[in-house]
Subunit: 400 residues, 2 copies
């Protein structure tokens, strides 16, 4: 019998509890022994819960309980989660988390402690909800030099963009619907401005490179700038628009970014709709892999957490292949040096000068203006060229 | 230093060798120690190979070499591969294979020996080429009752169907192109008649249920019956056609089948084109997951083989979560009892009687006949209803 603790009985934490109760026999079979919840820490009142005796408000009831080997941290946020995780690992307990903010910010420190204490710190649920992506990168792709990881890492923005494309809603209208359905928070900044996706691409690229990718090294642009007219243009040229977290390595250097991108309809990412997420991985031997599923939600996310718990029950010793070290700031490729094609929107009057600067292209007529696709150029060069033609209405990077 | 042997230096075997040479440093990092090829068994002449000294024609040079802990079996076929695998496992060596025919037919026996000898028998490359699917089912989905696995498991037929849809080729024409490009064999039976996909769905469902699914319990239909007219109908109703290997469990019972199915354009499987493969997994907690990538080819398949080798270098002890036991023939759901919707093509003259038997439906006009979609009915009931209306031109199951 393996006894676990849960910190934070919100959406994901209560999902973990539910899976452990409902799939008890399957878990016993898959873990090799029974898994039970011994203690749940939450500052709220759960005295009416059918297992009210499991709840405590005192962290010492978990960290001090020698029967508890594994603790699930699903409280979110940094402050308390950081202190608790550090204390738990230091006391020789393994920790499983869905807290992407914490993993992105302090993963490197936690892995050091986990190594020292020969325990594990796992975080499958922190990226892509229920989608297996951490373990495939750490294990399955082990024969490869992974040169690129990219994908739809935020369900809220994907829901909004899907609404804009399928039902011709404006950004504001789609955001309102998402808020009404509980897919977006009252303050939607973390999602629509790309911060949530930034944490996730940070985690993925930290795992791939073995060095922390700090959020401040990630170029971040959200989807507020995407208008109904961009949607019309995209559809006209056979593309859709998705918020893409993207990271790549090149000769030992690394770049990571979050921004809306045009995705060709032939690319599997284009069919990823609503709150679904999807991650593409490119390896030098396996070529392209894609992982798809529910990027959020109570049970899918809790499924990933419990998968990590099962992994630790099977083998609780420190595993170096899930970790990274502190950041190496010398190894970052500046965003300006990244090469891509762009879709650029300009006024009709700019066409002659655009033809001079960008070469002879096909200028597509939109509602009030014109759009064209550039050659592959560095983002720095694009900025300079845009200045030459006196600014543009909008520009969107093409996914490759 | 971990020394491995390779049996069969064909497409995949030579790919394994290539990866071990080219990605040497990455493999050392990911496995925790260096991996080297010590001996290659192949009856052909490789005396001109740059490492000719590695080759042997004598199996005893591998099985009798105590320095070799892991042997890669990429020779294919049953007869010799079966004897070799048994001898290797019995002598305490772990075996990694890409041989789906062998895994489907004799996996249960090999797992028994592997358990006895405390070694491993791994087969990630046997399904979906480079796509991680075995390890995700064995590890990542551990929190779930997996109720369904389905997908595009054969690249050759997917290439042919893609050609038929995108370029309006006939089945015969597309097959010829596939043969010219080396995607289809001279005798294409194993691919186009569904036997290859059958082995793969057998393996996946054996892993999921823990009991062998023998090929003869799998309903198999290939793609020879799919005509240009079926393609036209499918496109008209917003579907594409894919050869789908499909297995599901229900109250402890299991069914597996291979047949062409209509896939709605909104389903991610519909964008899986050419030789790519994709596997959908449904779990009771995580809902739908999808895994996508190159289902065949030298380096992608070898990447999966080498991934298994790395896994064994990290931990070479028997792992029960990758195994299944012998078949339990009491637990199979007959194909006739499977429920699905079907697209049915009939003559115009049959419409009145079809309306009586199948209810009032929308009859879509094709080139020479009419088509309609049934309600969800059992396949047995469909057969009886078809008899009532005096036969049909064609019927294709809808994917759900």
């Amino acid at each position: 019998m393996k006894k676990i603790g849960i910190i934070g009985f919100g959406v994901v934490g209560s999902g973990v509890y539910e899976i452990i109760r409902k799939n008890k026999d399957i878990l016993t079979k898959n873990a090799g022994e029974e898994i039970d919840v011994k203690r749940i820490l939450d500052i709220r009142d759960f005295s009416a819960h059918e297992e009210a005796h499991l709840f405590t408000k005192d962290f010492n009831d978990l960290v001090g309980d020698s029967e508890i080997d594994i603790v699930v941290e699903t409280m979110g946020g940094i402050k308390f989660a950081y202190e608790y995780t550090k204390a738990l690992l230091s006391s020789g307990k393994s920790v499983v988390t869905s807290n992407k903010e914490l993993v992105a910010a302090h993963g490197d420190e936690f892995f050091r402690i986990a190594k020292e204490k020969n325990v594990r710190y796992l975080y499958e649920a922190s990226v892509g909800g229920g989608i297996p992506i951490i373990r495939p990168l750490a294990n399955d792709a082990a024969a490869n030099d992974i040169c690129e990881v990219s994908g739809i890492l935020n369900g809220t923005t994907n829901y909004i963009l899907t609404k804009m494309f399928k039902e011709n809603e404006s950004f504001e209208g789609a955001l309102k619907t998402a808020q009404e359905l509980g897919y977006a928070e009252k303050d939607p900044t973390a999602d629509v401005d790309g911060f949530d996706a930034c944490r996730k691409i940070s985690i993925l690229m930290s795992l791939v490179t073995g060095k922390k990718i700090p959020s401040e090294m990630v170029h971040i642009a959200g989807i507020r700038t995407i208008t109904a007219e961009d949607v019309t243009y995209a559809a006209a040229i056979g593309y859709t628009i998705k918020l893409i977290g993207c990271g790549f390595t090149k000769e030992g250097m690394v770049n990571a970014s979050v921004e809306p991108m045009l995705i060709p309809e032939s690319c599997p990412l284009s069919t990823v709709e609503d709150v679904f997420n999807s991650v593409m991985v490119k390896g030098n031997m396996v070529d392209t892999l894609m992982f798809y599923g529910r990027g959020a939600g109570k049970l899918p996310t809790a499924s990933a957490v419990v998968g990590d718990v099962v992994d630790i029950v099977r083998s609780g010793e420190y595993n170096p292949y899930f970790s990274w070290e502190e950041s190496d700031r010398e190894s970052f490729i500046p965003y300006e040096d990244v090469e891509a094609k762009f879709f650029v929107r300009i006024e009709e009057s700019q066409i002659p000068v655009a033809r001079e600067v960008f070469g002879d292209r096909e200028f597509i007529k939109g509602v009030n203006d014109y759009g064209f696709v550039t050659d592959e150029i560095t983002i720095g060069k694009l900025a300079a060229d845009i200045e030459k033609i006196g600014g543009v209405i909008n520009k969107i990077r093409l996914y490759k």
